[in-house]
């Protein structure tokens, strides 16, 4: 055997080994997530066979296929329901507002920590990461009591002389506060890490060339931290879209976010098909957001010659 053929064989062997080592988590996901998701999508079009048979045997008010052609009746029912449309709108608004607030806060904190080496800057960063330490169930419950009618905010306003201040608990504003609270650490960590990778010399160079501080930030910092920014926006967006605990504990009965309506349709109304239709709608929205994440990653990998 020639040396070249030998090398090609070794390379192929290590490639195969890499592939096989990387396979287990992908297989677990394909089997326990991919398969149920495909089954779920089939179920929304009226197919009740296979692993759907158990759920379909128990659920009520299903729209099942008559023959082989898919039926869109489940979608027609859910999308035609005005309370679903309100929930969808509420979900989208909470998602957008949360993403914007998390972005603004994360950037403000990261920028402050990047340029100020003081104790306060460290304190603010540490504060922003605290929510990561707290289980979401606890955080939601704590936020609920803090903003409830007998909570801290109303107590404080009462002592200051404002007797009938509003309570944020059981309202979508309270839910948004809870979402920002739980998603802030991820944003601050990623954007701080992105900004810390911008070398001082680059900023100094921009400043020496006569750029103002805000100009230097815009021209140097923002492009350098673009990838972490997009990661934060997409992960926060997807996380909020599908969230359950925060809106379930803090939010009102109706209208509420789709994560809660889904659980309600499944557990209280025993309408699994309608619940899964809602899940697919959220999934489509999340996939739309996920597309930006994938594209941004691919772009940045190409930019640094890694792809």
């Amino acid at each position: 055997m020639t040396a070249v053929a030998q090398r090609v064989r070794t390379r192929n062997r290590t490639r195969l080994r890499g592939f096989l080592l990387a396979l287990p988590p992908v297989l677990v996901i394909a089997f326990f997530i991919g398969l149920p998701v495909i089954a779920a999508i089939a179920y929304t079009f009226g197919y009740s066979g296979g692993i759907n048979s158990v759920v379909a045997a128990l659920a009520q008010k299903q729209h099942l296929v008559d023959g082989a052609a898919p039926t869109f009746d489940a979608y027609r029912e859910v999308l035609g329901d005005s309370s679903f449309r309100t929930d969808l709108l509420v979900t989208v608004i909470v998602t957008i507002v949360t993403v914007v607030l998390v972005m603004v806060l994360s950037w403000a904190i990261a920028l402050y920590a990047r340029f100020s080496r003081g104790v306060l800057a460290k304190l603010v960063t540490a504060l922003a990461v605290v929510p990561m330490f707290i289980p979401v169930v606890i955080a939601s419950y704590a936020i609920l009591t803090f903003y409830s009618t007998d909570g801290f905010t109303r107590t404080l306003f009462h002592l200051l002389g404002w007797e009938d201040s509003p309570a944020l608990a059981y309202k979508m504003t309270g839910v948004t506060v809870g979402q920002v609270w739980t998603h802030l650490p991820f944003g601050v960590l990623l954007i701080s890490s992105g900004l810390s990778s911008v070398p001082d010399t680059l900023i100094d160079a921009a400043r020496d060339a006569g750029a103002s501080m805000s100009r230097a930030v815009r021209a140097v910092m923002i492009p350098m931290a673009a990838l972490p920014t997009i990661i934060v926006a997409t992960f926060t967006g997807i996380g909020v879209l599908g969230s359950f605990t925060v809106p379930y504990l803090i939010g009102p009965n109706a209208p509420n976010m789709l994560g809660v309506s889904m659980a309600q349709y499944y557990q209280s109304f025993n309408q699994a098909q309608q619940a899964v239709v809602m899940a697919v709608v959220v999934f489509v929205l999340a996939a739309g957001i996920g597309y930006f994440y994938v594209r941004a990653n691919a772009k940045s990998a190409r930019g640094s010659g890694r792809l």
Binding site: P24, F32, R154, L156, S192, M278, G290
Partner: protein, 269 residues
């Protein structure tokens, strides 16, 4: 004047952040020691430790705490076996489909968990793992795959190849090189991932509720009932107890988390 205004602005921002982040936790903690506390008092009128006894003596709540401490380490162990070799492969081998496979893990995040759990029930029934220990572990492991692969993969990728090559040149075999060079350098990243996985299991409520009830009710699952059926003070006590392990574990890896180990993992290479 301008400097003073800026300093005041910063101080105000720090104060607002303190209230926003710590306020709810402090407010809830106070409740755990409150006997009577009427609106609009800023502090409870009478204090007590009575609620701690109530919670500690409740057998059901104690069982939930124990179960959480069983599921979390098992989840981390299973997830490590599945993910860590893969993380190494993603970092060190180039093979066709590598990027697609890395990204496919991300798919776990995109489909709402609630919708997934509804159809997963069908799969679990046919595998006969509905309502079993294995079923709950599977649900917990599913929630950890992304962090357990991505963060260690970034940690392995950050180990300089030159160090590994130097060890190989000095006569170390591949296994020796891995355990005496690669692994120690990547260890902080792996530790961060393991603790994130531990906490994810510790925090998982929805799936455990759907798959595990009535046999396996963990702490966060119990919390949902607690909020609705017990006095507020008992829920507050339980909340503190549920937060302690998370806080301790996160404090252990705080430096690495803040130092960018977590952030690295989400920037796919």
């Amino acid at each position: 004047m301008g400097a003073w205004a800026r300093r005041a602005g910063v101080a105000l921002f720090v104060l607002a952040m303190l209230l926003f982040v710590i306020g709810p936790l402090a407010w809830l903690s106070l409740r755990a020691f409150a006997q009577t506390w009427e609106y609009p008092r800023l502090l409870p009128r009478e204090w007590t430790l009575h609620w701690w006894e109530t919670v500690l003596e409740d057998a059901q709540l104690g069982g939930a705490i124990r179960l959480s401490f069983v599921f979390a380490p098992v989840t981390v162990l299973v997830s490590s076996v599945i993910c860590l070799p893969a993380a190494y492969a993603f970092a060190r081998h180039d093979f066709p489909g590598r990027r697609v496979m890395l990204l496919s893990l991300f798919a776990t995040n995109a489909f709402p968990k609630m919708g997934l759990f509804i159809t997963i029930a069908g799969l679990f029934y046919s595998l006969k793992i509905m309502g079993t220990f294995v079923g709950v572990v599977v649900v917990h492991v599913l929630g950890t795959l992304v962090v357990m692969t991505w963060i260690p993969a970034a940690a392995f990728a950050a180990v300089p190849r030159s160090l590994e090559e130097a060890a190989r040149d000095a006569g170390a075999g591949p296994i020796r090189t891995f355990f005496s060079v690669t692994f120690p350098i990547a260890a902080p990243g792996i530790l961060v991932a393991m603790i994130m996985a531990f906490l994810a299991s510790f925090d998982e409520a929805q799936g455990t509720f759907l798959v595990g009830t009535p046999t396996y009710i963990t702490m966060p699952t119990e919390m949902y009932t607690l909020v609705l059926n017990y006095p507020e003070q008992a829920a507050a006590v339980f909340s503190i107890m549920l937060s302690v392990p998370s806080v301790v574990l996160m404090l252990l890896v705080r430096k690495h988390v803040m130092g960018g180990r977590l952030a690295e993992g989400f920037q796919l290479r």
